[in-house]
Each structure stands twice: as C-alpha cells, then as structure tokens.
Symmetry: C2
Subunit: 89 residues, 2 copies
C-alpha cells in the first residue's frame, strides 16, 4: 500500500460524520437507510451520500445494492493493510 492510499484512507477517517456512519453501519449489519442516517447525523441526504462515497472510494468499505437500499461491508483486507502500514511507518 502506497503512502498516497494511506493518505486517502486517513482522510476518509478524518471526519466525525463519516466515523459515525461507519459505526452506524457496523451496528446495523452493514445496512444503511439513508433517511435514518440523515436524522441521526442531522445532515441533508446529499451530504450522507457524499460521505458514503468517500468511504467507498477510499476502499475501506464495499457497496452493494439490495432491493432499493444499500448494504455495506468493511473491506477487511484494506483495513488490515492500513493498520499494518501505519504500525510500520
């Protein structure tokens, strides 16, 4: 993993709303209802959408549509590599 990706992942983790979204995902078995997330975070729907996109683009989470809603899962490989690289910076 290159330094550039370490930077990108750290950036994805550097916003409290995105951290809360990650927590919400985990608690909800990866299921995310956008409207519920809006209430929870007190953000407009496009903002939620934008934050989720950043998480996906960083590679930290995978996205797949189920019916009308989305499900997400941690990309454990990316996650573990990130930790490892930080430890041995």
């Amino acid at each position: 993993m290159e330094l550039k990706q370490i930077e990108k992942i750290s950036k994805a983790l550097s916003d409290i709303n995105r951290l809360k979204i990650l927590q919400y995902m985990q608690k909800n078995q990866g299921k995310v209802e956008c409207t519920h997330a809006c209430d929870l975070l007190d953000l407009a729907q496009p903002s939620i959408s934008h934050h989720i996109k950043k998480l996906v683009e960083s590679g930290l989470i995978n996205q797949h549509k189920i019916g009308r809603n989305y499900h997400y899962s941690l990309n454990h490989e990316v996650w573990d590599n990130y930790m490892l690289r930080l430890k041995n910076l």
Copy 2:
C-alpha cells in the same frame, strides 16, 4: 478515546507531507533538522513547522528541544489507542 480525537488523529495522518515527516523522524531516530526536511519535501520552512505542530497537537508525537534542534518521539500510548479504537469502531 473519544470519536473527536479519532477524527483529529486521522486528520493529522491525512496529509502526505505529514506522513513523510513521520517517516523521516523514524529513520532519523526522532531527530528533525528543519532545513533538511524542507529540501526533502520541497516545502517552505513555515509549512514544515505547521505540519509538525499538527502532529504534536494530535498527540501522536512528543516534542523536546535538544540544543538548537528538536527531537521527537512517537507517543505509543496514543498510537496504540488509536489503532485499538479503529479496530473496534
């Protein structure tokens, strides 16, 4: 460790220049000669100073002056807590 500090540390790690500074510190046993760092990163001296400050403020590194220059050391407690919190987000 609160979510706010996770955010702050991630933010400190979310700039490639700061990551390079961290690497440079490690390679140099924590010793930093600012002018050398300027050359390495192709940044002006105040920028280096600013980036180092962000790292110190995040709690990731400790700063202590030796003679005219500065030495730094990783704050392992903060570092480890950060990792742990991320793992169990």
